[in-house]
Protein backbone atom coordinates (compact mmCIF):
# COMPACT_ATOMS: atom_id res chain seq x y z
CA UNK A 1 0.00 0.00 0.00
CA UNK A 2 2.82 2.38 0.91
CA UNK A 3 4.50 1.93 -2.43
CA UNK A 4 1.18 2.41 -4.27
CA UNK A 5 0.62 5.62 -2.34
CA UNK A 6 4.10 6.83 -3.24
CA UNK A 7 3.62 5.81 -6.86
CA UNK A 8 0.35 7.70 -7.27
CA UNK A 9 1.56 10.76 -5.36
CA UNK A 10 4.67 11.11 -7.50
CA UNK A 11 2.57 10.44 -10.61
CA UNK A 12 0.14 13.19 -9.59
CA UNK A 13 2.87 15.77 -9.21
CA UNK A 14 4.59 14.79 -12.44
CA UNK A 15 1.36 14.71 -14.41
CA UNK A 16 0.49 17.61 -16.72
CA UNK A 17 -2.77 17.91 -14.81
CA UNK A 18 -0.85 19.16 -11.80
CA UNK A 19 0.09 22.33 -13.69
CA UNK A 20 -3.59 22.98 -14.40
CA UNK A 21 -4.57 22.45 -10.79
CA UNK A 22 -1.74 24.63 -9.55
CA UNK A 23 -2.82 27.33 -12.00
CA UNK A 24 -6.42 27.09 -10.79
CA UNK A 25 -5.36 27.33 -7.16
CA UNK A 26 -3.09 30.26 -7.95
CA UNK A 27 -5.98 32.28 -9.35
CA UNK A 28 -7.33 33.39 -5.96
CA UNK A 29 -3.83 34.55 -4.96
CA UNK A 30 -3.48 36.50 -8.18
CA UNK A 31 -6.89 38.07 -7.81
CA UNK A 32 -6.31 38.89 -4.16
CA UNK A 33 -3.08 40.64 -5.10
CA UNK A 34 -4.84 42.44 -7.93
CA UNK A 35 -7.57 43.49 -5.56
CA UNK A 36 -5.09 44.92 -3.07
CA UNK A 37 -3.49 46.94 -5.84
CA UNK A 38 -6.77 48.15 -7.36
CA UNK A 39 -8.30 48.85 -3.96
CA UNK A 40 -5.36 50.96 -2.90
CA UNK A 41 -5.55 52.82 -6.22
CA UNK A 42 -9.28 53.52 -6.15
CA UNK A 43 -10.00 53.96 -2.44
CA UNK A 44 -8.22 55.37 0.52
CA UNK A 45 -9.84 53.08 3.10
CA UNK A 46 -7.82 50.56 5.01
CA UNK A 47 -8.42 46.95 4.11
CA UNK A 48 -10.70 45.27 6.62
CA UNK A 49 -9.04 41.85 6.87
CA UNK A 50 -11.64 40.42 9.21
CA UNK A 51 -14.31 41.26 6.66
CA UNK A 52 -12.39 40.18 3.60
CA UNK A 53 -10.54 36.98 4.52
CA UNK A 54 -13.70 35.04 5.52
CA UNK A 55 -15.33 36.21 2.28
CA UNK A 56 -12.40 35.05 0.19
CA UNK A 57 -11.80 31.79 2.00
CA UNK A 58 -15.47 30.86 2.11
CA UNK A 59 -16.70 32.02 -1.28
CA UNK A 60 -13.58 31.43 -3.29
CA UNK A 61 -12.10 28.40 -1.57
CA UNK A 62 -14.83 26.45 0.25
CA UNK A 63 -17.65 27.15 -2.20
CA UNK A 64 -15.74 27.22 -5.43
CA UNK A 65 -12.17 25.97 -5.61
CA UNK A 66 -12.44 23.08 -3.16
CA UNK A 67 -15.43 21.32 -4.75
CA UNK A 68 -14.33 22.12 -8.31
CA UNK A 69 -10.79 20.81 -7.98
CA UNK A 70 -12.09 17.86 -5.94
CA UNK A 71 -14.42 17.08 -8.84
CA UNK A 72 -11.51 17.35 -11.25
CA UNK A 73 -9.33 15.01 -9.22
CA UNK A 74 -12.00 12.74 -7.79
CA UNK A 75 -13.60 11.92 -11.13
CA UNK A 76 -10.11 11.25 -12.48
CA UNK A 77 -9.22 8.65 -9.84
CA UNK A 78 -10.24 5.84 -12.15
CA UNK A 79 -11.18 7.99 -15.13
CA UNK A 80 -7.59 9.00 -15.88
CA UNK A 81 -6.25 5.45 -15.84
CA UNK A 82 -9.16 4.36 -17.98
CA UNK A 83 -8.63 7.13 -20.53
CA UNK A 84 -4.88 6.56 -20.70
CA UNK A 85 -5.56 2.78 -20.77
CA UNK A 86 -3.00 2.16 -18.05
CA UNK A 87 -5.71 0.56 -15.91
CA UNK A 88 -4.85 -2.86 -17.32
CA UNK A 89 -1.40 -2.65 -15.72
CA UNK A 90 -2.87 -1.81 -12.33
CA UNK A 91 -5.58 -4.45 -12.44
CA UNK A 92 -3.11 -7.21 -13.28
CA UNK A 93 -0.84 -6.64 -10.30
CA UNK A 94 -1.15 -8.75 -7.12
CA UNK A 95 -2.84 -5.84 -5.39
CA UNK A 96 -6.48 -5.83 -4.26
CA UNK A 97 -8.50 -3.56 -6.50
CA UNK A 98 -9.90 -1.69 -3.53
CA UNK A 99 -6.36 -0.82 -2.44
CA UNK A 100 -5.69 0.83 -5.80
CA UNK A 101 -8.55 3.25 -5.46
CA UNK A 102 -7.83 3.91 -1.81
CA UNK A 103 -4.19 4.70 -2.55
CA UNK A 104 -5.17 7.00 -5.42
CA UNK A 105 -7.71 8.78 -3.27
CA UNK A 106 -5.24 9.24 -0.47
CA UNK A 107 -2.58 10.63 -2.81
CA UNK A 108 -5.12 12.99 -4.42
CA UNK A 109 -6.20 14.14 -0.96
CA UNK A 110 -2.61 14.86 0.05
CA UNK A 111 -1.92 16.78 -3.15
CA UNK A 112 -5.16 18.77 -3.00
CA UNK A 113 -4.79 19.63 0.68
CA UNK A 114 -1.23 20.83 0.17
CA UNK A 115 -2.01 22.94 -2.89
CA UNK A 116 -5.16 24.49 -1.44
CA UNK A 117 -3.48 25.38 1.81
CA UNK A 118 -0.46 26.86 0.07
CA UNK A 119 -2.82 29.00 -2.01
CA UNK A 120 -4.85 29.96 1.05
CA UNK A 121 -1.68 30.81 2.93
CA UNK A 122 -0.55 33.16 0.19
CA UNK A 123 -3.98 34.82 0.00
CA UNK A 124 -3.99 35.19 3.76
CA UNK A 125 -0.48 36.59 3.81
CA UNK A 126 -1.21 39.10 1.04
CA UNK A 127 -4.25 40.37 2.94
CA UNK A 128 -2.62 40.60 6.34
CA UNK A 129 0.99 41.51 5.70
CA UNK A 130 0.04 45.06 4.78
CA UNK A 131 -1.21 45.51 8.31
CA UNK A 132 2.04 44.28 9.84
CA UNK A 133 3.62 41.02 10.99
CA UNK A 134 1.81 41.09 14.34
CA UNK A 135 -1.54 41.14 12.57
CA UNK A 136 -0.38 38.29 10.37
CA UNK A 137 0.60 36.15 13.34
CA UNK A 138 -2.36 37.04 15.54
CA UNK A 139 -4.86 35.92 12.90
CA UNK A 140 -2.92 32.77 12.07
CA UNK A 141 -5.42 30.64 13.98
CA UNK A 142 -8.20 31.64 11.61
CA UNK A 143 -6.02 30.61 8.69
CA UNK A 144 -5.19 27.27 10.32
CA UNK A 145 -8.86 26.56 11.05
CA UNK A 146 -9.86 27.58 7.53
CA UNK A 147 -7.15 25.31 6.19
CA UNK A 148 -8.46 22.45 8.30
CA UNK A 149 -11.93 22.97 6.83
CA UNK A 150 -10.40 22.73 3.36
CA UNK A 151 -8.58 19.52 4.26
CA UNK A 152 -11.79 18.02 5.67
CA UNK A 153 -13.82 19.16 2.70
CA UNK A 154 -11.24 17.74 0.31
CA UNK A 155 -11.57 14.30 1.87
CA UNK A 156 -15.35 14.33 1.57
CA UNK A 157 -15.64 15.75 -1.91
CA UNK A 158 -12.83 13.62 -3.33
CA UNK A 159 -14.38 10.40 -2.09
CA UNK A 160 -17.84 11.44 -3.28
CA UNK A 161 -16.63 12.34 -6.77
CA UNK A 162 -14.50 9.22 -6.97
CA UNK A 163 -17.71 7.25 -6.46
CA UNK A 164 -19.57 9.38 -9.00
CA UNK A 165 -16.66 8.95 -11.41
CA UNK A 166 -16.88 5.20 -11.05
CA UNK A 167 -20.64 5.12 -11.54
CA UNK A 168 -21.14 7.55 -14.39
CA UNK A 169 -19.51 7.82 -17.78
CA UNK A 170 -19.65 11.61 -17.63
CA UNK A 171 -19.24 12.54 -14.00
CA UNK A 172 -18.14 16.16 -14.56
CA UNK A 173 -21.57 17.50 -15.57
CA UNK A 174 -23.28 15.61 -12.75
CA UNK A 175 -20.67 16.94 -10.33
CA UNK A 176 -21.08 20.52 -11.52
CA UNK A 177 -24.83 20.18 -11.18
CA UNK A 178 -24.38 18.90 -7.64
CA UNK A 179 -21.98 21.64 -6.57
CA UNK A 180 -23.37 24.68 -8.32
CA UNK A 181 -26.96 23.58 -8.69
CA UNK A 182 -27.90 21.53 -5.64
CA UNK A 183 -25.44 22.71 -3.00
CA UNK A 184 -25.41 26.33 -4.08
CA UNK A 185 -29.17 26.62 -3.68
CA UNK A 186 -30.24 24.04 -1.10
CA UNK A 187 -27.56 24.89 1.47
CA UNK A 188 -29.15 28.28 1.96
CA UNK A 189 -32.74 27.20 2.19
CA UNK A 190 -34.47 27.22 5.56
CA UNK A 191 -35.46 23.98 7.15
CA UNK A 192 -33.77 20.63 7.29
CA UNK A 193 -33.17 20.14 3.59
CA UNK A 194 -29.75 21.72 3.89
CA UNK A 195 -28.61 18.64 5.82
CA UNK A 196 -28.56 16.95 2.42
CA UNK A 197 -25.54 19.02 1.39
CA UNK A 198 -21.89 18.73 2.32
CA UNK A 199 -21.25 22.44 2.40
CA UNK A 200 -23.73 22.93 5.25
CA UNK A 201 -21.57 20.79 7.53
CA UNK A 202 -18.43 22.57 6.36
CA UNK A 203 -20.08 25.87 7.26
CA UNK A 204 -20.51 24.70 10.83
CA UNK A 205 -16.76 24.02 11.05
CA UNK A 206 -15.87 27.35 9.56
CA UNK A 207 -14.12 29.55 12.16
CA UNK A 208 -15.27 32.94 11.08
CA UNK A 209 -18.86 31.86 10.74
CA UNK A 210 -18.88 30.54 14.29
CA UNK A 211 -17.29 33.69 15.57
CA UNK A 212 -19.77 35.85 13.79
CA UNK A 213 -22.71 33.80 14.97
CA UNK A 214 -21.47 34.09 18.49
CA UNK A 215 -21.82 37.85 18.34
CA UNK A 216 -25.12 39.66 18.31
CA UNK A 217 -24.04 41.77 15.39
CA UNK A 218 -25.71 39.76 12.68
CA UNK A 219 -26.55 42.83 10.65
CA UNK A 220 -22.85 43.59 10.35
CA UNK A 221 -22.32 40.04 9.26
CA UNK A 222 -20.93 40.27 5.74
CA UNK A 223 -21.99 36.70 5.24
CA UNK A 224 -25.58 37.54 6.02
CA UNK A 225 -26.84 35.40 3.14
CA UNK A 226 -25.91 32.31 5.12
CA UNK A 227 -28.83 30.87 6.99
CA UNK A 228 -28.26 30.06 10.62
CA UNK A 229 -25.80 27.28 11.33
CA UNK A 230 -26.41 27.31 15.04
CA UNK A 231 -28.40 24.10 14.94
CA UNK A 232 -25.50 21.76 14.17
CA UNK A 233 -22.42 21.42 16.32
CA UNK A 234 -18.92 21.04 14.85
CA UNK A 235 -18.61 17.60 16.43
CA UNK A 236 -21.77 16.36 14.77
CA UNK A 237 -20.56 17.83 11.49
CA UNK A 238 -17.25 16.00 11.74
CA UNK A 239 -19.06 12.74 12.47
CA UNK A 240 -21.40 13.18 9.51
CA UNK A 241 -18.59 14.19 7.17
CA UNK A 242 -16.47 11.25 8.30
CA UNK A 243 -19.40 8.93 7.73
CA UNK A 244 -20.01 10.32 4.23
CA UNK A 245 -16.31 9.94 3.40
CA UNK A 246 -16.21 6.39 4.73
CA UNK A 247 -19.32 5.33 2.87
CA UNK A 248 -18.14 6.85 -0.40
CA UNK A 249 -14.68 5.27 -0.14
CA UNK A 250 -16.23 1.90 0.68
CA UNK A 251 -18.69 2.15 -2.20
CA UNK A 252 -16.02 3.30 -4.66
CA UNK A 253 -13.70 0.46 -3.58
CA UNK A 254 -16.51 -2.05 -3.93
CA UNK A 255 -17.38 -0.68 -7.34
CA UNK A 256 -13.84 -1.08 -8.63
CA UNK A 257 -13.73 -4.60 -7.21
CA UNK A 258 -16.85 -5.78 -8.99
CA UNK A 259 -16.85 -3.65 -12.13
CA UNK A 260 -15.07 -4.66 -15.26
CA UNK A 261 -13.48 -2.10 -17.55
CA UNK A 262 -13.52 -2.53 -21.28
CA UNK A 263 -10.66 -0.28 -22.26
CA UNK A 264 -11.46 -0.44 -25.95
CA UNK A 265 -14.68 1.50 -25.40
CA UNK A 266 -14.73 5.22 -26.06
CA UNK A 267 -14.94 7.45 -23.01
Amino acid sequence: MLYLLRFFTINSFKNKKFTGIAALCALPVVFTLLFIVLYSLFTEQEINFSALFPKISLLLYVHFLLPLVSLFLGSAVIGDEREEQTLSYLLTRPVPRARIIQAKLLSSWVMLSVILNISLFFSYSILTIGSGISHWSSSLLIFIKSGAVLVTGAAVYLSLFALVGGLLKRPVVAGLFFIFGWEASVAFLPGKIKYATIVHYLHSLYPSLNQINNTQNLKANILNFIVSVKNISPLKSIIVLTAITGICIFAASLLLSIKEYRLDQNQ
Binding site: Y89, L90, P94, E260, R262
Partner: protein, 305 residues
Protein backbone atom coordinates in the same frame (compact mmCIF):
# COMPACT_ATOMS: atom_id res chain seq x y z
CA UNK B 1 0.35 -25.74 -13.73
CA UNK B 2 -2.48 -25.05 -16.14
CA UNK B 3 -4.82 -22.41 -17.46
CA UNK B 4 -8.20 -23.83 -18.29
CA UNK B 5 -11.44 -22.44 -19.48
CA UNK B 6 -14.58 -24.41 -18.84
CA UNK B 7 -17.66 -23.58 -20.90
CA UNK B 8 -16.44 -20.03 -20.95
CA UNK B 9 -18.69 -17.40 -22.49
CA UNK B 10 -18.49 -13.66 -22.53
CA UNK B 11 -20.88 -11.32 -24.21
CA UNK B 12 -21.16 -7.55 -24.40
CA UNK B 13 -24.81 -6.79 -24.83
CA UNK B 14 -25.74 -8.45 -28.11
CA UNK B 15 -22.18 -9.15 -29.16
CA UNK B 16 -20.59 -12.45 -28.22
CA UNK B 17 -16.92 -12.21 -27.37
CA UNK B 18 -16.26 -15.87 -26.60
CA UNK B 19 -18.79 -18.61 -26.91
CA UNK B 20 -18.82 -21.76 -24.78
CA UNK B 21 -15.08 -22.08 -24.94
CA UNK B 22 -13.32 -25.11 -23.55
CA UNK B 23 -9.59 -25.11 -23.75
CA UNK B 24 -6.57 -25.84 -21.69
CA UNK B 25 -3.10 -24.30 -21.78
CA UNK B 26 -0.19 -26.36 -20.52
CA UNK B 27 3.44 -25.37 -19.89
CA UNK B 28 5.21 -24.42 -23.09
CA UNK B 29 4.38 -21.89 -25.73
CA UNK B 30 0.82 -21.74 -26.99
CA UNK B 31 -0.06 -19.55 -29.91
CA UNK B 32 -3.48 -17.98 -29.74
CA UNK B 33 -4.51 -17.46 -33.32
CA UNK B 34 -7.43 -16.05 -35.14
CA UNK B 35 -8.61 -13.34 -37.46
CA UNK B 36 -9.61 -9.91 -36.16
CA UNK B 37 -12.68 -10.18 -33.97
CA UNK B 38 -12.09 -13.85 -33.21
CA UNK B 39 -12.12 -13.29 -29.47
CA UNK B 40 -8.38 -13.60 -28.75
CA UNK B 41 -8.09 -10.41 -26.75
CA UNK B 42 -11.34 -11.16 -24.93
CA UNK B 43 -9.96 -14.57 -23.96
CA UNK B 44 -6.71 -13.01 -22.82
CA UNK B 45 -8.56 -10.41 -20.75
CA UNK B 46 -10.60 -13.18 -19.19
CA UNK B 47 -7.41 -15.12 -18.42
CA UNK B 48 -5.85 -12.04 -16.83
CA UNK B 49 -8.91 -11.23 -14.72
CA UNK B 50 -9.75 -7.95 -16.41
CA UNK B 51 -13.14 -9.22 -17.53
CA UNK B 52 -15.65 -11.28 -15.63
CA UNK B 53 -17.04 -14.35 -17.43
CA UNK B 54 -20.69 -14.09 -18.36
CA UNK B 55 -20.90 -17.87 -18.06
CA UNK B 56 -18.49 -20.65 -17.21
CA UNK B 57 -15.11 -20.00 -15.70
CA UNK B 58 -11.45 -19.55 -16.38
CA UNK B 59 -9.07 -21.00 -13.85
CA UNK B 60 -5.38 -20.94 -13.21
CA UNK B 61 -4.16 -23.95 -11.23
CA UNK B 62 -7.74 -24.62 -10.26
CA UNK B 63 -8.43 -21.12 -8.93
CA UNK B 64 -10.88 -18.70 -10.50
CA UNK B 65 -9.10 -15.72 -12.00
CA UNK B 66 -11.73 -13.01 -11.64
CA UNK B 67 -11.07 -10.73 -8.67
CA UNK B 68 -8.31 -13.00 -7.40
CA UNK B 69 -5.36 -10.68 -7.12
CA UNK B 70 -3.17 -13.30 -5.41
CA UNK B 71 -2.93 -15.23 -8.67
CA UNK B 72 -1.21 -12.29 -10.33
CA UNK B 73 1.94 -12.91 -8.31
CA UNK B 74 2.81 -15.50 -10.91
CA UNK B 75 1.48 -13.80 -14.02
CA UNK B 76 3.24 -11.43 -16.33
CA UNK B 77 1.04 -9.66 -18.85
CA UNK B 78 1.85 -7.39 -21.76
CA UNK B 79 -1.31 -5.81 -23.18
CA UNK B 80 -1.82 -5.07 -26.85
CA UNK B 81 -2.65 -1.41 -26.33
CA UNK B 82 0.10 1.15 -26.56
CA UNK B 83 -0.50 2.66 -23.13
CA UNK B 84 1.99 4.07 -20.66
CA UNK B 85 2.44 6.77 -18.08
CA UNK B 86 4.28 8.80 -20.67
CA UNK B 87 6.13 11.08 -18.26
CA UNK B 88 8.06 8.06 -17.00
CA UNK B 89 11.32 6.75 -18.35
CA UNK B 90 11.51 3.12 -19.45
CA UNK B 91 13.33 2.14 -16.29
CA UNK B 92 10.88 3.94 -14.02
CA UNK B 93 8.00 2.23 -15.77
CA UNK B 94 9.39 -1.27 -15.33
CA UNK B 95 10.61 -0.55 -11.80
CA UNK B 96 7.24 0.87 -10.63
CA UNK B 97 5.28 -2.08 -11.94
CA UNK B 98 7.80 -4.52 -10.46
CA UNK B 99 7.58 -2.85 -7.04
CA UNK B 100 3.82 -3.40 -7.08
CA UNK B 101 4.50 -7.11 -6.78
CA UNK B 102 5.73 -6.42 -3.26
CA UNK B 103 9.47 -6.47 -3.87
CA UNK B 104 11.66 -4.01 -2.05
CA UNK B 105 13.75 -1.36 -3.76
CA UNK B 106 16.94 -3.44 -4.17
CA UNK B 107 15.16 -6.50 -5.48
CA UNK B 108 13.00 -4.49 -7.86
CA UNK B 109 16.01 -2.54 -9.15
CA UNK B 110 17.93 -5.73 -9.87
CA UNK B 111 14.93 -7.31 -11.59
CA UNK B 112 14.34 -4.18 -13.63
CA UNK B 113 17.95 -4.05 -14.75
CA UNK B 114 17.87 -7.69 -15.80
CA UNK B 115 14.57 -7.38 -17.66
CA UNK B 116 15.74 -4.28 -19.51
CA UNK B 117 18.94 -6.03 -20.50
CA UNK B 118 16.97 -9.01 -21.74
CA UNK B 119 14.90 -6.86 -24.10
CA UNK B 120 18.02 -4.89 -25.13
CA UNK B 121 16.78 -1.54 -23.94
CA UNK B 122 19.69 -0.65 -21.66
CA UNK B 123 20.81 2.30 -23.74
CA UNK B 124 17.37 3.88 -23.84
CA UNK B 125 16.19 3.08 -20.32
CA UNK B 126 16.68 6.63 -19.06
CA UNK B 127 14.73 8.25 -21.87
CA UNK B 128 11.07 9.14 -21.53
CA UNK B 129 8.67 6.60 -22.97
CA UNK B 130 6.91 9.40 -24.85
CA UNK B 131 10.00 9.65 -27.02
CA UNK B 132 10.27 5.92 -27.74
CA UNK B 133 9.60 4.36 -31.11
CA UNK B 134 6.84 1.76 -31.44
CA UNK B 135 9.30 -1.12 -31.25
CA UNK B 136 10.95 0.31 -28.14
CA UNK B 137 7.60 0.68 -26.46
CA UNK B 138 6.78 -2.94 -27.26
CA UNK B 139 10.07 -4.05 -25.72
CA UNK B 140 9.56 -2.07 -22.56
CA UNK B 141 6.07 -3.55 -22.26
CA UNK B 142 7.57 -7.02 -22.49
CA UNK B 143 10.22 -6.04 -19.96
CA UNK B 144 7.61 -5.20 -17.33
CA UNK B 145 5.90 -8.51 -18.04
CA UNK B 146 9.03 -10.64 -17.58
CA UNK B 147 10.71 -8.64 -14.83
CA UNK B 148 9.40 -10.81 -11.99
CA UNK B 149 10.20 -14.06 -13.86
CA UNK B 150 6.59 -15.21 -13.71
CA UNK B 151 5.46 -18.79 -14.23
CA UNK B 152 2.75 -17.61 -16.62
CA UNK B 153 3.45 -15.10 -19.32
CA UNK B 154 0.62 -13.73 -21.43
CA UNK B 155 1.58 -11.56 -24.37
CA UNK B 156 -1.05 -9.92 -26.52
CA UNK B 157 0.36 -9.20 -30.00
CA UNK B 158 3.91 -8.75 -28.70
CA UNK B 159 5.51 -8.32 -32.12
CA UNK B 160 3.26 -5.49 -33.27
CA UNK B 161 5.27 -2.72 -34.85
CA UNK B 162 8.64 -4.32 -34.29
CA UNK B 163 11.43 -4.33 -36.85
CA UNK B 164 12.85 -7.70 -38.03
CA UNK B 165 15.77 -7.59 -35.61
CA UNK B 166 13.53 -6.77 -32.67
CA UNK B 167 11.13 -9.51 -33.75
CA UNK B 168 13.90 -12.03 -33.84
CA UNK B 169 15.11 -11.19 -30.34
CA UNK B 170 11.60 -11.31 -28.87
CA UNK B 171 10.88 -14.63 -30.60
CA UNK B 172 14.12 -16.03 -29.18
CA UNK B 173 13.17 -14.77 -25.73
CA UNK B 174 9.74 -16.35 -25.94
CA UNK B 175 11.27 -19.64 -27.09
CA UNK B 176 13.69 -19.53 -24.16
CA UNK B 177 10.85 -19.01 -21.71
CA UNK B 178 8.89 -21.84 -23.28
CA UNK B 179 11.81 -24.20 -22.70
CA UNK B 180 11.81 -23.26 -19.00
CA UNK B 181 8.51 -25.06 -18.50
CA UNK B 182 6.62 -21.82 -18.10
CA UNK B 183 3.20 -21.26 -19.59
CA UNK B 184 3.58 -18.74 -22.38
CA UNK B 185 0.52 -17.60 -24.28
CA UNK B 186 1.20 -15.49 -27.32
CA UNK B 187 -1.63 -14.01 -29.31
CA UNK B 188 -1.23 -12.96 -32.91
CA UNK B 189 -2.93 -12.89 -36.25
CA UNK B 190 0.40 -13.18 -38.11
CA UNK B 191 0.77 -16.86 -38.83
CA UNK B 192 4.43 -17.17 -39.69
CA UNK B 193 5.37 -15.44 -36.42
CA UNK B 194 3.51 -18.05 -34.43
CA UNK B 195 4.97 -20.82 -36.56
CA UNK B 196 8.46 -19.63 -35.68
CA UNK B 197 7.68 -19.84 -32.00
CA UNK B 198 5.58 -22.91 -31.50
CA UNK B 199 3.73 -25.88 -32.93
CA UNK B 200 0.97 -25.68 -30.35
CA UNK B 201 -1.90 -23.44 -31.18
CA UNK B 202 -5.40 -22.53 -30.21
CA UNK B 203 -7.22 -21.42 -33.32
CA UNK B 204 -10.23 -19.20 -32.74
CA UNK B 205 -12.91 -17.70 -34.87
CA UNK B 206 -16.16 -15.96 -33.97
CA UNK B 207 -15.57 -16.56 -30.29
CA UNK B 208 -15.14 -20.31 -30.65
CA UNK B 209 -12.16 -22.61 -30.60
CA UNK B 210 -11.88 -24.22 -34.01
CA UNK B 211 -8.87 -26.31 -33.22
CA UNK B 212 -6.36 -26.82 -30.46
CA UNK B 213 -3.11 -28.74 -30.40
CA UNK B 214 -0.14 -29.42 -32.63
CA UNK B 215 -0.32 -27.83 -36.08
CA UNK B 216 0.55 -31.04 -37.90
CA UNK B 217 -1.92 -33.12 -35.95
CA UNK B 218 -4.59 -30.59 -36.69
CA UNK B 219 -3.65 -30.68 -40.34
CA UNK B 220 -3.99 -34.40 -40.49
CA UNK B 221 -7.41 -34.22 -39.02
CA UNK B 222 -8.65 -31.92 -41.72
CA UNK B 223 -9.64 -34.74 -44.08
CA UNK B 224 -12.03 -32.58 -46.04
CA UNK B 225 -8.95 -30.90 -47.48
CA UNK B 226 -6.54 -33.46 -48.92
CA UNK B 227 -2.90 -32.74 -48.23
CA UNK B 228 -0.90 -31.58 -51.23
CA UNK B 229 2.57 -33.01 -51.62
CA UNK B 230 5.04 -31.92 -54.28
CA UNK B 231 7.64 -34.50 -55.39
CA UNK B 232 10.55 -34.00 -57.79
CA UNK B 233 11.86 -37.30 -59.03
CA UNK B 234 13.64 -39.07 -61.87
CA UNK B 235 10.63 -40.89 -63.32
CA UNK B 236 7.43 -38.92 -63.08
CA UNK B 237 5.34 -41.29 -65.26
CA UNK B 238 6.04 -44.44 -63.28
CA UNK B 239 5.58 -42.83 -59.92
CA UNK B 240 2.30 -41.26 -61.03
CA UNK B 241 0.97 -44.59 -62.26
CA UNK B 242 1.93 -46.32 -59.02
CA UNK B 243 0.43 -43.62 -56.82
CA UNK B 244 -2.87 -43.66 -58.69
CA UNK B 245 -3.39 -47.28 -57.57
CA UNK B 246 -4.04 -46.15 -54.03
CA UNK B 247 -7.50 -45.06 -52.95
CA UNK B 248 -6.30 -42.27 -50.62
CA UNK B 249 -4.65 -40.46 -53.54
CA UNK B 250 -7.31 -38.16 -54.92
CA UNK B 251 -5.41 -36.51 -57.72
CA UNK B 252 -1.98 -36.25 -59.31
CA UNK B 253 -0.78 -33.46 -61.53
CA UNK B 254 2.53 -33.93 -63.22
CA UNK B 255 4.93 -31.90 -65.25
CA UNK B 256 7.44 -33.90 -67.28
CA UNK B 257 9.62 -30.94 -68.08
CA UNK B 258 10.10 -30.07 -64.44
CA UNK B 259 10.17 -33.71 -63.35
CA UNK B 260 7.63 -32.81 -60.78
CA UNK B 261 4.29 -34.09 -59.62
CA UNK B 262 1.77 -32.76 -57.14
CA UNK B 263 -0.28 -35.31 -55.29
CA UNK B 264 -3.41 -34.81 -53.18
CA UNK B 265 -3.88 -37.42 -50.51
CA UNK B 266 -6.36 -37.80 -47.67
CA UNK B 267 -4.04 -40.06 -45.62
CA UNK B 268 -0.81 -38.13 -45.29
CA UNK B 269 0.89 -40.44 -42.77
CA UNK B 270 0.40 -43.54 -44.87
CA UNK B 271 1.38 -41.66 -47.99
CA UNK B 272 4.67 -40.52 -46.51
CA UNK B 273 5.52 -44.06 -45.45
CA UNK B 274 4.66 -45.35 -48.91
CA UNK B 275 6.89 -43.03 -50.95
CA UNK B 276 10.28 -44.52 -49.96
CA UNK B 277 8.97 -48.05 -50.64
CA UNK B 278 7.70 -47.12 -54.08
CA UNK B 279 10.88 -45.28 -54.91
CA UNK B 280 13.05 -48.28 -53.98
CA UNK B 281 10.89 -50.86 -55.72
CA UNK B 282 10.75 -48.90 -58.98
CA UNK B 283 14.24 -47.53 -58.92
CA UNK B 284 13.14 -43.93 -58.81
CA UNK B 285 15.33 -41.21 -57.38
CA UNK B 286 13.51 -38.68 -55.25
CA UNK B 287 15.11 -35.23 -55.52
CA UNK B 288 12.76 -33.33 -53.24
CA UNK B 289 9.54 -33.80 -51.34
CA UNK B 290 7.58 -31.12 -49.55
CA UNK B 291 4.06 -30.13 -48.67
CA UNK B 292 2.97 -26.61 -49.51
CA UNK B 293 -0.03 -27.36 -47.36
CA UNK B 294 1.37 -28.51 -44.07
CA UNK B 295 1.57 -25.18 -42.42
CA UNK B 296 -0.45 -22.86 -40.31
CA UNK B 297 -1.68 -20.80 -43.19
CA UNK B 298 -3.27 -23.81 -44.77
CA UNK B 299 -4.83 -24.89 -41.47
CA UNK B 300 -6.02 -21.36 -40.91
CA UNK B 301 -7.53 -20.92 -44.34
CA UNK B 302 -9.26 -24.32 -44.26
CA UNK B 303 -10.78 -23.88 -40.84
CA UNK B 304 -11.57 -20.20 -40.81
CA UNK B 305 -14.18 -19.35 -43.37
Amino acid sequence: MKIESIKLSKWYGQVIGVNNLNCSVEPGITGLLGPNGAGKTTLIRLMTGQLRPSKGSVRINGEEVWNNHRLFKNIGYAPEKDAFWSHMTGEEFVYSLTRMYGFDHDQASAMTKKAIETVEMTESKDKKIAGYSKGMRQRIKIAQAISTDPDILILDEPLNGMDPIGRRSVIDLIRKMGKMEKIVVVSSHILHEIEEMTDTIILMSHGRVLAQGNIYEIRELIDTHPLKVVIRCSNVDVLTAKLMEYEDVKSVQFDREQNQLMVETVKPSEFHKRIPELALKNNISIYSLYSPDENLEAVFSYLVR
